[in-house]
């Protein structure tokens, strides 16, 4: 029962409040409100900025997912060979797991800072006018945010993929060495399919991480707000609700996000738990 009470107070009640608020138009001082049915939803989906943010967030999330999984896979496959011999390298490689998103954001901010950032200098060798300017250009800003998010996620993915690789029975890999002379083909026909359950799980995890939890990275990289077009959906909920004082519109956006979570959860349970299973 205490668990249900905790869920009710910290999850169900705020969700219910958000759903309720999304149907009201409230004045910025909270003195009066008016029930407006789906007008808030209509407004946000008719707003080209919101739709743009939605598309940008989707592209960003997919990029983070595939980049971080790809890099982590590359690393994990290399390390797997080493670890099957001895086991001293693991802590060295996995320490980045302990990094909070906000710290990842700070690291990205320093690396790409116009004043002290080495990567900023590397990308702008000629000085004026800067070719790469994340503070002004939204695509450049997304590159910085993506780098931070990918950097953080690679270590998480690496741990899971490495564990997945190590759980593949050694004898199965040996059998494939006798059956197949090409290491590349062995990887795609034996290792990769056996890793598929782990990969699919990580895809869902990474996508939801990029989609929902990059607020901290955006907020630390751009303490005064990102350039126009470089906000994620979650960041926009915060900006519109708390800075723009549009509680109704912001709540409607939250409800849309909740529906995304729901959809992801369904995908996870439907396919992850049942389909990819040997």
């Amino acid at each position: 029962m205490p668990q249900i009470a905790i869920i009710a107070v910290f999850f169900l009640w705020p969700s219910f409040e958000a759903i309720q608020l999304s149907f009201y138009l409230e004045d910025p001082w909270g003195l009066s409100n008016e029930f407006v049915w789906f007008e808030n939803y209509q407004t946000i989906f008719e707003d080209p900025e919101y739709v743009g943010t939605l598309i940008a967030t989707l592209i960003f999330s997919l990029s983070v997912t595939f980049l971080s999984l790809g890099l982590a896979m590359l690393l994990a496959v290399q390390v797997d060979g080493l670890l099957r011999g001895g086991g001293t390298y693991r802590p060295l490689i996995t320490w980045a797991y302990a990094i909070a998103p906000a710290v990842a954001g700070l690291v990205a901010r320093f690396l790409f800072s116009p004043q002290i950032g080495p990567i900023y200098d590397l990308l702008n060798p000629d000085g004026e006018p800067p070719w790469f300017e994340p503070a002004l250009d939204s695509i450049d800003a997304w590159v910085v945010i993506t780098s931070g998010a990918v950097w953080r996620q690679v270590s998480v993915n690496f741990i899971f993929l490495l564990a997945g690789l190590q759980s593949i029975p050694r004898s199965v890999l040996e059998a494939s060495r006798i059956d197949n002379p090409s290491g590349f083909s062995r990887f795609w026909s034996v290792t990769f399919p056996l890793l598929a359950p782990t990969l699919f799980f990580l895809m869902v995890i990474n996508f939801s991480y990029a989609f929902f939890e990059t607020f901290a990275i955006i907020d630390t990289v751009f303490p005064f707000g990102p350039p126009a077009g470089a906000a994620s959906l979650v960041y926009k909920v915060y900006v519109d609700g708390f800075k723009g004082a549009d509680l109704g519109g912001s709540s409607a956006q939250s409800v849309v996000l909740m529906l995304f979570v729901l959809a992801l959860t369904v995908v996870q349970f439907r396919y992850l738990e049942k389909k990819i299973h040997y």
Binding site: P169, S171, V172, E174, A175, S176, R177, I178, D179, N180, P181, S182, S185, S189, V190, P193, L194, A196, Y278
Partner: protein, 350 residues
């Protein structure tokens, strides 16, 4: 024609462990050779070196006259059946069997023909579209065999393939593997720690201990003329009796008795091995033993006896003889049936 020759093959691990200490062995065409020994004797390592899964530290591995030490496993033309079968869990039985052939660019019609043929031999026809998780232990074992058969390799390698099956199935598969190997005439190596399995399956046994080859020979040679005390006690169930004795001027002194007729052996302390079935019960015999325990095995019975000096003996007799615990019996042994080993080296003397 396939012959495999091992020339002083050695395996030393990076941590200094000597798993295999210089083994010389020749495996003949169409023969099934069993590597047998206790766990940790190096038999599996030796097999994995032949398969190419384990690097060879020194020595030569020759297949049909060419050195294959550094040839990739897939290019050695060997097929291996693993202890836990090592089937590809994401592939159907059919895919498991055809995978190696596809990688070797064998034409599709030929693959189908071989898979169907192997499935027929192993009675897997009905199971071709199933995945390994949907099979029983015995069926998985047969799929693993099928995967090896379709390759039509020069050499079959079996790494304790029966140890994960229950006793009844194991006995059945033992017979099946033997028949199959006779039928296909593929040169094979079979690794096991089970001496009964080794005796029944092999054309020849290679008894390994501590990374060294103790003896190579047919099952009967190894049983009736063990080359060392280790082989004598490892092969044979119930175990051989080993007692200490001494040879003095051609006479063997053992447990208070004197047996003449060992003039070819110089004076030295020896270990005497007596198979449990080599005792003869005679009322006129001099060796008196007291029965401590009787084990009825149906066709046989095993008498655990104690001599007046306190030494233990196992004696095997036909079943239903009605011997009782506490009874005294007198036995004799024919000198020719005794196995004498050096106390120092453990090597056979007679």
């Amino acid at each position: 024609m396939t012959t495999l020759t091992l020339n002083s093959l050695q395996k030393t691990y990076a941590n200094g462990t000597h798993a295999v200490r210089g083994i010389d062995l020749e495996i003949f065409d169409g023969e099934l050779t069993v590597f047998v020994g206790p766990s940790g004797c190096g038999k599996s390592t030796l097999l994995r070196m032949i398969a190419g899964l384990e690097e060879i530290t020194s020595g030569d591995l020759m297949l049909d006259g060419s050195r294959i030490n550094d040839v990739e496993p897939a290019h050695r033309d060997v097929a291996m059946v693993f202890q836990n079968y090592a089937l590809y869990p994401h592939m159907t039985v059919r895919r498991n069997m055809s995978y190696a052939l596809q990688n070797r660019k064998v034409p599709k019609a030929e693959i189908d023909r071989r898979v169907v043929e192997a499935a027929r031999i192993l009675q897997l026809d009905e199971l071709l579209e199933r995945k390994p998780a949907q099979l029983s232990g015995g069926q998985r074992q047969r799929v693993a065999m099928g995967r090896a058969i379709v390759r039509e390799p020069k050499l079959f390698l079996f790494d304790e393939p029966l140890s994960n099956l229950d006793a009844q199935l194991r006995a059945q598969m033992r017979v099946d593997i033997r028949k199959l190997q006779r039928q296909l005439r593929v040169t094979s190596i079979f690794v096991t720690h089970d001496q009964i399995e080794a005796m029944t399956v092999g054309d020849r046994l290679a008894v390994l201990n501590n990374g060294e080859l103790e003896q190579i020979g047919t099952p009967m040679e190894v049983y009736s003329k063990p080359a060392s005390e280790f082989v004598a006690s490892f092969i044979g169930s119930p175990r051989i009796n080993i007692v200490s004795g001494e040879v003095k001027a051609g006479t063997l002194h053992v447990d208070g008795f004197e047996l003449p007729g060992f003039s070819q052996i110089s004076d030295q302390p020896v270990k005497v091995g007596i198979r449990p079935e080599d005792f003869v019960l005679e009322s006129t015999a001099k060796m008196s033993l007291q029965i401590d325990l009787v084990e009825e095995l149906g066709s046989d019975e095993l008498l655990y006896c104690v001599s007046p000096t306190g030494l233990d003996y196992r004696i095997r007799r036909p079943g239903g003889s009605g011997h009782k615990v506490g009874e005294n019996i007198t036995v004799s042994v024919i000198s020719e049936k005794l196995h004498l080993f050096s106390s120092q080296s453990g090597k056979r003397l007679n």
